[in-house]
């Protein structure tokens, strides 16, 4: 125990003296993600609101055929523009988002009370044009509905006649859950923070020591290699846990800077969230530290270790991607899969959904088992003769 502590303290002290390690693992890693997150969400929200409130420019062909429609549209916030000569081509080449064409038959059909046709020229594959098209369509339908109501009333009938069915939407999502969808990336950021937090030490304590030729003298001491490994893993985990804690604190502060009023949702990271997240993340931290050390032990050089560990960072993205592509209903087995279990727990906590104690324990237990397993594999690699010898 004392020797493990000796190794642990030495590794921590040595790495705290390395400004680059401290900057990367304890500052850039945990703080960059929340800052980017806040900026990104603010930018997206600003853009969406901007669009919804700004007047909608619409190129119109044949505006003279439907003066009352045009007037109604202008009242609803449409800015009538001159149409390009060839509207179909202009839309295809993305010069304009959409074109409204009012054919010369419109006036006559309107007068006779027959369905009067207007044409909306647009390109459905242009995602960016989707918003304006939907806005204009809604306005046109509103105008149609309004006119229908007036015609019915003019004939002395009840306006409800034309509306046999009314659909009322009852959204069951809570403000937190709507946030949860948007914050689906958060668990990944936390797990990534752990990866970045442990990376420098995992490399330094194994591949780095070997490359600097200090592993062989270290192994000449009367201490078993598994004890040395435990001390080193402890130091790596300590840095990773610190990075994780900083991440949680940083995101809880970042939550204050989100445009929650505009979003109609909030990012609330409280004590309960922090404690439960730490609980399920702790075995994952050890598991990741052991995996990183294992990869670093396999590498022939410092550089090779950096390459392996950078590749390893993509692993936690897999459950995030899977869950965004296949939004599966949360099932018990998910808690049992390391990485995925943490992802599910953190997502549910953020959404304010209940997480059972047995699920938390399952997540903790399986990740712990995986960490122990990887530790034994790493310890076996550590015992190999090849490990200590550089070059």
């Amino acid at each position: 125990m004392k020797t493990m502590l000796t190794v642990f303290l030495k590794e921590v002290r040595e790495n705290l003296r390395d400004r680059r390690t401290v900057l990367n693992t304890l500052l850039t890693g945990p703080l960059l993600a929340p800052v980017m997150f806040v900026l990104l969400i603010n930018a997206i929200v600003a853009r969406e609101f901007d669009k919804a409130e700004k007047p909608l420019p619409v190129p119109v062909i044949g505006a003279e055929h439907a003066p009352s429609l045009i007037q109604a549209l202008q009242q609803m916030g449409v800015e009538i523009k001159d149409a390009p000569a060839d509207p179909e081509q202009a839309v295809r080449e993305q010069e304009v988002d959409l074109v409204l064409r009012i054919p010369d038959t419109y006036a006559e059909a309107w007068r006779k009370g027959e369905p009067a046709q207007v044409e909306l020229v647009h390109d459905k594959s242009q995602r960016d044009a989707g918003g304006p098209v939907a806005r204009l369509r809604t306005m046109l339908e509103a105008y149609g509905q309004q006119t229908a109501t007036m015609r019915v009333v003019a004939r002395g009938l009840s306006p409800t006649m034309t509306r046999p069915l009314v659909v009322a939407s009852r959204d069951q999502s809570t403000a937190q859950a709507r946030g949860g969808m948007m914050f689906g990336m958060l668990p990944y950021f936390f797990i990534l923070g752990v990866f970045i937090g442990g990376m420098a030490l995992a490399i330094d304590t194994t591949a780095g020591e070997r490359e600097r030729q200090s592993l062989e003298p270290l192994f000449a001491n009367p201490v078993s290699r598994s004890r040395l490994l435990l001390g080193k893993l402890g130091a790596t985990s300590a840095f990773a846990v610190t990075a994780l804690l900083l991440s949680i604190v940083a995101f809880s502060i970042a939550g204050q800077f989100l445009p929650t009023a505009k979003l109609g949702m909030s990012l609330t990271i409280g004590m309960r969230f922090a404690v439960l997240t730490m609980f399920v993340m702790l075995p994952l931290v050890v598991l990741i530290a052991a995996l990183q050390t294992l990869a670093a032990a396999f590498a022939k050089s410092f550089r090779e270790a950096q390459t392996y560990l950078s590749l390893l960072m993509f692993v936690p993205a897999v459950p995030t991607l899977l869950m965004s592509v296949f939004p599966l209903k949360t099932q018990t087995w998910m808690y049992a899969v390391p990485l995925m279990g943490q992802q599910v727990v953190i997502t549910r906590l953020l959404r304010g959904d209940p997480v059972g104690n047995s699920d938390l324990l399952l997540c903790f237990a399986t990740s712990t088992a995986a960490a122990v397993l990887v530790y034994f594999v790493t310890a076996a690699i550590y015992r190999s003769e090849r490990l200590a010898i550089s070059g």
Binding site: V7, K10, E209, E216, A220, N221, S224
Partner: protein
């Protein structure tokens, strides 16, 4: 006392060590001389339990390295071929780290560090971070760290490699001091002069085998030559890989 009995070690098809046996006694400096690639480093690595011999036995003060490697390492002070020091720690912290790994108390470590620093003439660099140390300063730190626990047996793999004349002289003085304290000292070298100047017993290794094991005088007689250098070349069969 260190006894090596019929050590064998192969890496793939290459027989690095092919039956090495010798005894190194207390109060003597035993020199391991051989050209580069003769198997000196591999032999020493088996001795300080970094590698397991394919065949043969290592006894340190009567303890079998295969049975109790930790006890063997406790009785050894080792300066391996690789002698990297932790550059973000001071020389003193480097020494203390190994002292703690040997289970020494802080007071003992402080006292031993003082004595070693004096013997190795490194008082001026003791509290500096080792980043930017010269080769000689690094080697001194590595040696102090290796013998901080006051071991009975000291093993040094090419201790004077890359050192300047002044540091080499200081090193030789330190090795003689270890001998006078009654310790068993083994050091390897491919430099003939150095072995000749220091050793009570010379074990010459070539192609993974011991080709001579004698005192310098016996070696001269055996080769029928007054010149030790001539004698070495004769027993090895070639001067390749050796340095005067």
């Amino acid at each position: 006392m260190i006894e090596l009995k019929d050590l064998h070690k192969a890496f793939g098809a290459v027989k690095a060590v092919d039956g090495v046996s010798f005894v190194a006694r207390d109060g003597e400096i035993t020199g391991l001389l051989g050209p580069n690639g003769a198997g000196k480093t591999t032999t020493l690595r088996m001795l300080y339990t970094l590698m397991k011999p394919a065949r043969g036995q290592v006894l340190v003060d009567g303890i079998d390295a295969a049975v109790d490697p930790l006890a063997v390492r406790r009785r050894l002070g080792v300066l391996p071929d690789a002698r990297g020091v932790y550059k973000r720690l001071t020389a003193r912290e480097n020494i203390a780290y190994f002292g703690r790994l040997h289970g020494m108390s802080d007071a003992d470590i402080r006292e031993r560090t003082r004595a070693l620093s004096q013997a190795l003439e490194m008082d001026d660099i003791l509290d500096r971070q080792t980043e930017g140390f010269s080769q000689g300063q690094r080697t001194k730190t590595a040696i102090a760290r290796a013998v901080v626990h006051d071991p009975r047996n000291v093993i040094l793999d090419e201790p004077t490699n890359g050192l300047d004349v002044m540091t080499t002289r200081a090193m030789r003085g330190f090795l003689r001091q270890l001998r006078e304290e009654g310790r068993c000292v083994i050091f390897s070298s491919h430099i003939m002069q150095e072995v000749a100047a220091l050793c009570d017993r010379i074990v010459v290794i070539a192609h993974g085998r011991v080709v001579a094991n004698a005192t310098p005088d016996e070696l001269r007689a055996q080769a029928g030559s007054d010149n030790l250098e001539e004698a070495f070349v004769k027993v090895i069969g070639s001067a390749e890989g050796l340095a005067a």
